[in-house]
């Protein structure tokens, strides 16, 4: 999995996305250039209405740019048919949503299994179990979402994102619905995944959350600007020094896979 980041997973060149036409036209993205390399952990930060949701949809192959170029691992996404996009979403991207988006009637492992069903994978339970183990939930595999806390649900969602071993993990406000303890857990898991060599794009409005990522990109009115890491650190440092994930990094390294149960916290 660790490739040294020589190859770009995502390349966006002058990507524009507009909605509507004429006087009511909305330019959600304007000439966005972005490259994410293998092993990168990038936070995209911006207030609501800045175009970050649009960017997330395009990065996740859920939507198509109006103009520009979008290459996913060198392949031109804009030329792909619906089913090919579905294939990329299934196999090469793992989604983590703010709302968790778990199916209420399925148990944790059945939820994790879902992406595997759409590619007719074998040994699905085994793979789902391994993914749940990675997020420290192997003791709750048979619980349904409403028997789990918010933090646990999001960990199930992360396991679901990991189960296909994707090239990119796309997390859209993953901590938006969580309390501080659970937020800490989820960020710790993302940090660990990054250390394991995964490519992660984290989208958030919260600079403190964004600070977990080594690289921060700011989006505002559809325009993307690269921020230096120091700026980001200053920002978060001033507001809430204790929330900086860096300060707890050694502890996580000591026990990378054991994440405290958010429900008991």
């Amino acid at each position: 999995m660790v490739t040294g980041g020589e190859h770009a997973v995502l390349t966006l060149e002058k990507v524009c996305k507009t909605y509507g036409a004429g006087e009511t036209i909305v330019r959600a993205l304007r000439d966005v250039d972005l490259e994410v390399r293998r092993g990168d952990f990038v936070a995209i930060i911006g207030p609501s209405g800045s175009g970050k949701s649009t960017l997330m949809n395009i990065l996740g192959c859920l939507d198509i740019p109006t103009s520009g170029r979008y290459l996913f691992a060198g392949e031109d996404v804009m030329r792909m048919r619906d089913d090919e996009l579905a294939h990329i979403r299934n196999l090469r991207i793992g989604f983590v949503f703010q709302q968790f988006h778990l199916l209420k009637k399925l148990t944790a492992w059945r939820n994790v299994e879902l992406p595997l069903l759409y590619r007719r994978a074998s040994r699905r339970r085994e793979k789902a179990m391994r993914a749940l183990e990675m997020v420290g939930l192997d003791h709750r595999v048979d619980h349904t979402p409403n028997q789990l806390s918010g933090g646990q649900q999001q960990r199930v969602a992360i396991a679901r994102a990991l189960v296909t071993d994707p090239e990119l993990i796309l997390a859209d406000e993953p901590t938006g619905n969580l309390d501080t303890a659970s937020t800490r857990d989820i960020l710790a898991i993302l940090d660990q995944l990054h250390k394991d060599g995964r490519t992660i794009v984290l989208i958030t409005h919260d600079p403190e959350i964004a600070a977990v990522a080594p690289r921060i990109v700011r989006i505002s009115d559809g325009v993307l600007t690269e921020e230096s890491m120091s700026t980001a650190l200053e920002l978060t440092g001033r507001r809430a020094p204790t929330a900086r994930p860096r300060t707890r990094a050694p502890r996580r390294r000591a026990a990378p896979m054991i994440v405290e149960d958010a429900a008991s916290a």
């Binding site: 859920l62 939507d63 979403r89 989604f95 199916l103 009637k105 879902l114 759409y118 679901r160």
Partner: protein, 410 residues
């Protein structure tokens, strides 16, 4: 997703909405049930008509007087007295009518009062000749039938139907006893074998006397020559058409009628009556099946309605599945199968209901019904098919949802 996994997903969705699924399936259930019951009744009716054809003796040709057709309306059937004993005698000539096996002229009256000792009974009395047995395909149970000699001699002898005999002579000593019919004494010489009641008409409740005696003594205002109808039996079932043609030609000739359209008699075969009955019951069955079909259609629309609601409710689920890599085809199949599962469950319950009703009707009512497994299988297929057909629109709607729109829908 494999078909099995899709079916499991569909089943899970059906199970998690049990009441709604059941109500939706109810429309299909009623449709399939109604289909099986109506087809069962139709098949049963046809079977009973078939057995009636063989019981009545399909070789029977009935000649009735009258029938002047004017402007397409047949008038005066059976009311005139154009048929005579001479007509009957002429038809018996094998050189003129080679396909005719027996000829029986008939007069009869209903409501004849019969008295045997202390018992009084009202029944119909028929005057005829020995060929009456052959033409009606009846057989003697005991004693003898009336003979040609009896007819010639105006003998006061009578043959009783089994019902009449049992009612007049509860002791069973009918043969040789006397019975007063309309105050005229007759000696009982024989008893017919029972045939079995057919609806309101009981062919076992009657008395048969020589036609000459009936004409002279029992029919008020009757003449000794005119008859009410002539029963003719053909040599075989295949000879019915040629026999009725011979009868027609001969009667036209003896009645000196040149234009067949002006015939003063009508020829009816049992087969033609029964085929009319058959056609009527077929039309009735088709009508009922049509009603069943309409209720299936309504059931299908119900399935579509509920599936559309289900798609709307599960927009977030559809969006998520798409984000996780479900293709349009996967979503389409998922909802199609769900609709088919609901309909098939309804169809299965409908087959159960229809089958049970068919047996119950056959057992506890006078209707003859037949449960047909192929029809049940067809009903099931139709039910699942309806689910598929009416599931297409909702499933397409689900499949076409854009994942981002769908995800936002929660």
């Amino acid at each position: 997703m494999t078909v099995l996994q899709t079916a499991l997903t569909g089943l899970r969705a059906v199970r998690s909405n049990r009441l709604r699924s059941l109500l939706t399936a109810l429309g299909i259930l009623i449709g399939v049930g109604a289909l099986i019951i109506t087809v069962g009744i139709g098949l049963g009716t046809r079977t009973s008509i078939g057995s009636r054809i063989s019981r009545l003796g399909t070789n029977l040709i009935t000649v009735t007087p009258g029938s002047v057709t004017s402007g397409g309306v047949r008038t005066g059937l059976g009311s005139s007295t154009t048929l005579t004993m001479d007509d009957a005698a002429a038809l018996k000539n094998p050189s003129v009518a080679p396909d005719v096996a027996g000829v029986a002229p008939v007069v009869s009256r209903n409501g004849a009062i019969m008295v045997a000792g202390p018992v009084t009974w009202t029944s119909s009395v028929t005057g005829s000749t020995p060929d009456w047995l052959l033409t009606n395909a009846r057989y003697m149970d005991s004693g003898t039938f009336i003979s040609d000699d009896d007819v010639r001699a105006h003998a006061q002898v009578a043959v009783l139907g089994p019902t009449t005999a049992a009612d007049l002579f509860p002791g069973g000593n009918a043969i040789g006893s006397l019975v007063d019919i309309q105050h005229i004494p007759f000696r009982v010489v024989g008893i017919l074998q029972p045939r079995g009641a057919q609806g309101l008409y009981n062919p076992d409740d009657l008395a048969i006397v020589p036609i000459s005696t009936a004409q002279g003594e029992l029919i008020a205002g009757g003449s000794l020559t005119s008859v009410q109808r002539i029963l003719v039996s053909a040599n075989s079932r295949d000879a019915i058409d040629s026999a009725s043609e011979e009868v027609n030609d001969l009667l036209l000739q003896t009645h000196r009628i040149t234009d067949p359209g002006q015939a003063d008699f009508t020829i009816t075969t049992q087969a033609s009556i029964l085929s009319t009955l058959d056609a009527t019951s077929t039309a009735l069955t088709l009508l009922l099946a049509g009603v069943a079909g309409i209720s299936l259609l309504v059931g299908g629309i119900g399935v579509m309605n509920i599936m559309l609601v289900s798609v709307t409710e599960r927009i977030a689920e559809i969006g998520l599945r798409k984000a996780l890599g479900a293709r349009r085809g996967d979503i389409l199949r998922q909802f199609l199968l769900e609709a088919a599962v609901i309909s098939a469950v309804g169809g299965l319950l409908g087959v159960g209901l229809g089958g049970a009703s068919t047996f119950a009707l056959d057992r506890f009512t006078s209707l003859v019904t037949v449960f047909s497994p192929p029809v049940a299988a067809i009903g099931l297929l139709i039910a699942a098919g309806i689910g598929l057909v009416f599931g297409v629109l909702p499933a397409l709607r689900a499949a076409r949802l854009e994942p981002i729109v769908a995800l936002r829908g929660s």
